[in-house]
């Protein structure tokens, strides 16, 4: 693992959340400067054999562990991306992941939109800023259809992406930070 600059001072967090098999790890990998590593927050042994892989071809297991990647922004700022499972039973992980996070990216599989309802509901309730990114699995719906299906607040940005593409994933991150930026009065502290 490549070491950080000795001047690195400020760690920042963004959480990528989404249903099983939606491409969280793919998105993290496409922009991370380190190979995504996985770890886990607790020793609770859950997950194996529980996840419903129906409708997600080619994926038969899941990791309870969350994975993460890293982006060195400049000499002092380092951004960590965390992929977190969106299913309700994994919320025990979230407190730790979201404490102090800049915001969240909800990654949506348009074939399984209902998987995202719980995560979006939770984020809205806890007041965590987020954007929604639809990972393109080749059968794209109209953005408006997705927005309607998610009953998304008009103020929440929604964009299409290809999580395998570094450029596309980068645009999703930028969309989130611009969304955060637009909410901060210039020259003031949040």
């Amino acid at each position: 693992m490549a070491p950080l600059h000795s001047t690195a001072k400020h760690g920042l967090k963004i959480v990528v959340i989404g249903g099983f098999g939606v491409g969280k790890t793919t998105l993290v990998r496409s922009v991370s400067e380190i190979r995504p590593l996985d770890t886990e927050a607790t020793m609770t042994d859950v997950g194996a054999g529980i996840d419903d892989a129906t409708g997600v071809p080619g994926k038969s297991t899941t990791t309870v562990a969350f994975d993460f990647g890293r982006i060195t922004l400049d000499d002092e700022h380092v951004l960590y991306l965390f992929g977190a499972p969106g299913q309700q039973r994994f919320w025990f992980l979230w407190d730790r992941l979201f404490t102090g996070a800049l915001g969240a990216i909800v990654l949506v599989d348009q074939r399984r939109i209902a998987d995202s309802w719980y995560a979006i509901d939770r984020l809205e309730h806890q007041g965590t800023p987020f954007v929604v990114a639809c990972n393109d699995f080749g059968d794209a719906h109209e953005p408006q259809e997705v927005r309607d299906a998610l009953d998304l607040d008009p103020a929440v940005p929604l964009l299409m992406c290809d999580a395998r593409s570094r450029e596309s994933s980068k645009q999703v991150l930028i969309a989130l930070v611009e969304h955060l930026y637009s909410a901060v009065p210039q020259g003031e502290t949040v």
């Binding site: 950080l4 600059h5 690195a8 400020h10 886990e40 607790t42 965390f82 930070v177 949040v190």
Partner: protein, 114 residues
């Protein structure tokens, strides 16, 4: 690919921590840890590994992943090193602290350079 944390023997975690609870108040996942001294005699292999790794700033979550320890277990070990003055920590920037427009601008500049 590294082994999963879940494959490890829970006894190892108990031995390492003495059964103590995670030191979550001192360590966020992205708290950067920096070594302040070289490993010395009597340290566990995990403590030595942490001090080696943290010669450059290293996030708590990276330390846990490298050592294949659950984050909670890693924070217990880090807490011991912190209280012994062997490491220092650089707490994360967060919304609760001073996240302002100029910080977000720096984040945007960094992301656009990707």
């Amino acid at each position: 690919m590294s082994r999963s944390v879940r494959d490890e023997d829970p006894d190892r975690f108990y031995t390492l921590t003495g059964g103590r609870a995670p030191a979550t108040e001192d360590f966020d996942l992205v708290t950067l840890v920096v070594s302040e001294s070289a490993p010395s005699a009597g340290m566990t292999s995990e403590q030595v590994a942490i001090l080696d790794m943290c010669r450059a700033p290293t996030a708590v979550v990276e330390i846990a992943a490298e050592l294949r320890l659950p984050v909670g277990v890693a924070t217990v070990l880090l807490g011991d090193l912190l209280h012994a003055g062997k490491i220092t920590v650089r707490p994360p920037l967060s919304v609760a602290m001073s996240l302002d427009a100029s910080t977000l601008e720096k984040v945007l500049v960094g992301l656009r350079k990707l």
